[in-house]
């Protein structure tokens, strides 16, 4: 009996969380895809070449709660007036909108690093785009598997 009631409580609890995530997306609302992320990147970088590297992305491989996923990053740069990271943009290919956040840095920051917490509607790729003061672009991406919200909650 004790086990049964414990299980019921746990199910109710999980149901509440899953319901909360399900609520975060309207039924019938389409989610972003890779093409929408590519279009946003093109708006910023145009036709300039985008290299891999320089960006250290810190995201969990598996997120139990898609409502609060920690995201931290650092872009390699001396951060001097002559050579610094102007901006870092983040995109998601499985959320209602492909945009997550953009960060504009100045050489006042000793490193182009920051941390935030984000919402993910389901398992998807997070893409980072760094814009350097010399006009170069770098990218990095990581897939985050979302446990709750992706399992039919």
């Amino acid at each position: 009996m004790t086990d049964h009631s414990h299980g019921a409580t746990r199910r109710a609890f999980l149901g509440t969380i899953a319901g909360g995530v399900a609520l975060s997306v309207l039924p019938g609302v389409s989610l972003a895809d890779e093409a929408m992320v590519a279009a946003e990147i093109k708006k910023i970088a145009g036709d300039k070449p985008i290299k891999d590297g320089k960006i250290k992305l810190d995201l969990p491989s598996i997120a139990e709660n898609g409502l609060v996923v920690p995201l931290a990053f650092e872009v390699e740069s001396p951060m001097t007036e002559a050579d610094y990271v102007k901006a870092v943009h983040f995109f998601a290919d499985g959320n209602p909108s492909p945009m997550i956040a953009s960060f504009a840095f100045t050489p006042m920051a000793p490193k182009a690093a920051a941390a935030i917490r984000i919402r993910l509607a389901k398992t998807q790729n997070i893409v980072a785009l760094a814009e350097m003061s010399n006009g170069e672009f770098y990218r990095a991406s990581k897939e985050v598997k979302v446990t709750i919200g992706g399992c039919g909650g």
């Binding site: 609520l23 409502l67 956040a101």
Partner: protein, 108 residues
């Protein structure tokens, strides 16, 4: 909604040239505009769309936030301090409200 309350954690003293980490949090629902209420009506979007950190009037970091930012948004970043002064942190709401926090630091 109650008035958003900013919270900032950072040292109040430092040595010249030190790199310090600034951690900020503000209470805010970050309503995404993607949810419906019990009656099936879309709850309008209301988020903090921008965060700006500056020191002695010079900008350090400007962050544009979209609805993918979690409720009660957290933002941390780094600064190198070379002189005493005042940090100003501003959170700009969709409705035009600006929530502010000031923090003094003594560099010895």
């Amino acid at each position: 909604m109650s008035t958003p309350t900013p919270r900032v954690r950072m040292p109040s003293t430092a040595k010249a040239g030190d790199v310090i980490e600034v951690k900020t949090l503000i209470s805010h629902e970050m309503e995404s505009g993607q949810r419906k209420d019990a009656a099936g009506k879309v709850i309008p979007r209301k988020i903090i769309k921008q965060f700006v950190a500056s020191f002695n009037g010079k900008e350090i970091l400007r962050a544009d936030w979209h609805p993918a930012i979690s409720a009660n948004p957290y933002q941390s970043f780094f600064v190198r301090v070379t002189e005493s002064g005042t940090f100003l942190f501003q959170w700009i709401d969709d409705d035009g409200s600006v929530y502010k926090s000031e923090q003094k630091i003594t560099v010895g």
